[in-house]
């Protein structure tokens, strides 16, 4: 662990962050199981193995800072403060879900904590983020916007446009590229020209730093610095967080294309165990950690239980929240 981390002296804060990571991990495991059990339909993209990034980034944000995400948005949402219970209800399509069951996994959002939504379309969140920053500027607020983008997503034009745009207007945007080295089944190195996203960002005049995303302490300390700079008017910056996707692209992908040796190595670097090791070394005892895990597992299991038994939304709900002008009429029972 780099000594530079400002966390090193704050085991209590690390415990809190570790707890968030545990929630994400447990949530994702549970979501995957529910998917396999046929309780959750559609798509479930798990964030397993990347927890330290979302948590390390969001620990340095205020509640009113904004966040835009992509298809792999559960971890980002939980880290930003969305309620995992409502999220689980959403995955199950039940009453009380974050989107009333209208959205599902790829459209988790919690505007009350600045989480402007996961997104089913790669890189569309990037242009949204720069516009949100323009609103912030216009409203004379000191909020910032964080946009999560994958290493596959960086090759979409709208992301590249957004980089230019953010720098032209010197907007308070932090782009976080989660480089897990793969996009669905494609090794991104093979479809990404040049030396990578940091170099590209720099060509737009955007400061970019590459860090070990699985090192919670490095993520935290880097983000603390960068967020402070952005809030003080540095203009946009980019963090490339190196990581590894420990599961398939989505819950039903066995990821057979994965080199087993590579996976094994990656498991050795995964963030849960590393953070736990740090805690043990820094005076948090094993019992406390075990209790924490049990507590979190129980919490998530409870949500699953609740979600599996929660009420289904009424079909009429399909017809609300479309638009006010020209709102669709509920066709009624006769359907």
């Amino acid at each position: 662990m780099p000594v530079s981390s400002n966390l090193a002296n704050e085991p209590a804060r690390v415990v809190e962050m570790f707890r968030k990571m545990l929630v994400i991990r447990a949530f994702e495991e549970a979501a995957g199981e529910a998917f396999h059990a046929g309780q959750v339909r559609g798509s479930v993209h798990q964030y397993i193995g990347e927890e330290s990034i979302a948590v390390g980034i969001c620990a340095n944000l205020r509640d009113d800072d904004l966040l835009t995400s992509n298809h792999r948005g559960h971890g980002h949402s939980i880290a930003k403060g969305a309620d995992p219970r409502a999220m689980m209800l959403e995955l199950f399509g039940r009453v009380g879900g974050t989107s009333d069951g209208k959205g599902g996994s790829m459209h988790i959002a919690d505007f009350s904590v600045g989480m402007l939504g996961a997104n089913g379309v790669i890189a569309d969140g990037c242009t949204i983020s720069v516009g949100a920053a323009q609103s912030i500027r216009l409203l004379k607020q000191d909020r910032i916007v964080v946009n999560f983008i994958g290493d596959g997503g960086i090759n979409r034009g709208p992301f590249m446009e957004a980089l230019n745009w953010a720098k032209v207007y010197e907007l308070p945007v932090l782009f976080v590229c989660e480089n897990n080295q793969i996009a669905a089944t494609t090794t991104t190195r093979l479809v990404t020209a040049g030396e990578g996203i940091a170099k590209r960002a720099e060509s737009f005049g955007i400061p970019a730093i590459t860090i070990d995303g699985n090192d919670l302490f490095e993520v935290d300390s880097t983000t603390a610095r960068v967020v402070a700079e952005i809030r003080n008017g540095s203009g946009p910056q980019l963090i490339q967080a190196m990581t590894y996707r420990l599961r398939g692209h989505f819950a039903h992908d066995p990821a057979g294309y994965r080199d087993p040796k590579e996976l094994e190595e990656a498991l050795g670097r995964e963030p849960m165990a590393r953070t736990e090791a740090w805690l043990l070394k820094n005076g948090v005892d094993a019992d406390e950690i075990a209790a924490l895990k049990a507590e979190v597992d129980g919490e998530i299991a409870g949500y699953v239980d609740e979600a599996a038994n929660a009420a289904w939304p009424d079909g009429a709900l399909a017809f609300t929240d479309v638009q006010d002008v020209g709102a669709p009429e509920f066709p009624g029972e006769s359907r």
Partner: protein, 321 residues
């Protein structure tokens, strides 16, 4: 009453709304010095500053996407796309994001933005600058679609669109930018969305149209009047939601419906109106629209595409025969 052009009226409406609400702003290419394609933004950057009339890079995806993000974050952006053809570079941002954010987030979000994208033939700007894709957006849940036909409409409907909490696709017709008309500067009220205007009363047939074609339909009504045929001309003004009541009442009274639009007939929004009327009233319906060809450049070719008054009149006579 002041006489002004359709483009000037749009500028006036925008200026009034920007003065009224500091959260209203616009972004697009060449809005400052140029003042927009037809002066719809003339001098507004000087008046409201470069943060509210924002000159952007040539980045259509981001012009539209940024408007979505800005709307989600609490302001009321106007994304100026210059041509509906260029807006085809930002369909995902409009259709996958703006139109759906409120719904897919279960009502947590609102997207009060206006996407301005002029349609239509202007004369010699050909296939990639003359399209009328309003039917696409009328087909897209979440979007309001507005197609002003006169200076007064262009001011009043733009004002309503800016105040609307839903995303609005606002489609001026490029061929009307120079059209003169009376505008009542004292009346600051928006024209409500979703309400048609009866441009000409009549009893023998109902002609429904929008945008530039309304004027042509009125011209056809003149031609028909000379032959003793009384055609009612309805300007939908808002394409979605279209004013069903106005159309149904008229068509029930006249007993016949003709829908006319400049957009390609095949798959055009005229099909929606005609099918609904046929289904609801069982009266004879017909449609006129462009042939399913790109808009050509040369005069005789472009003319061959257009729906002229005599063709409308001819079709009406066939229906009444």
């Amino acid at each position: 009453m002041t006489e002004m052009t359709y483009a000037q009226a749009a500028r006036l409406g925008l200026q009034e709304e920007m003065a009224r609400d500091p959260k209203v702003w616009a972004l697009g290419e060449d809005l400052g010095y140029e003042g927009g394609m037809a002066g719809q933004y003339n001098d507004l950057q000087a008046e409201f500053g470069p943060d509210r009339i924002v000159d952007t890079p040539i980045s259509e995806s981001t012009i539209m996407g940024a408007a979505v993000g800005a709307a989600l974050a609490g302001t009321r952006p106007i994304a100026e796309m210059r041509f509906s053809d260029f807006a085809m570079c930002s369909v995902s941002e409009l259709v996958n994001q703006a139109a759906k954010a409120r719904y897919m987030f279960g009502g947590q979000a609102r997207v009060p933005m206006v996407a301005r994208m002029p349609i239509g033939i202007r004369g010699g700007i050909a296939a990639q600058h003359s399209q009328s894709p309003e039917a696409w957006y009328a087909h897209t849940p979440g979007l309001v679609v507005v197609t002003p036909s006169t200076p007064a409409n262009n001011r009043g409907l733009l004002k309503a669109s800016i105040r609307c909490d839903d995303p609005v696709v606002y489609m001026e017709h490029k061929g009307l930018w120079g059209m003169l008309g009376e505008v009542d500067e004292n009346d600051q009220e928006p024209i409500p969305l979703g309400v048609a205007a009866t441009v000409r009363a009549g009893s023998d047939i109902t002609i429904v149209s929008w945008a530039a074609q309304v004027g042509v339909a009125a011209e056809a009504a003149d031609v028909l009047a000379a032959d003793g045929i009384s055609a009612e001309v309805i300007d939908l003004r808002t394409l979605y939601p279209w004013d069903r009541d106005a159309v149904m009442n008229s068509a029930a009274r006249t007993g016949k419906l003709l829908v006319v639009h400049e957009a390609v007939r095949v798959g055009g929004f005229g099909g929606e109106v005609a099918a609904e009327v046929a289904e609801t009233l069982g009266v004879p319906v017909a449609r006129l629209g462009g042939e399913r060809i790109p808009i050509p450049f040369s005069i005789p070719l472009e003319e061959a595409y257009k729906i002229k008054a005599d063709r409308i009149a001819g079709r009406v006579k066939e229906m009444l025969a």
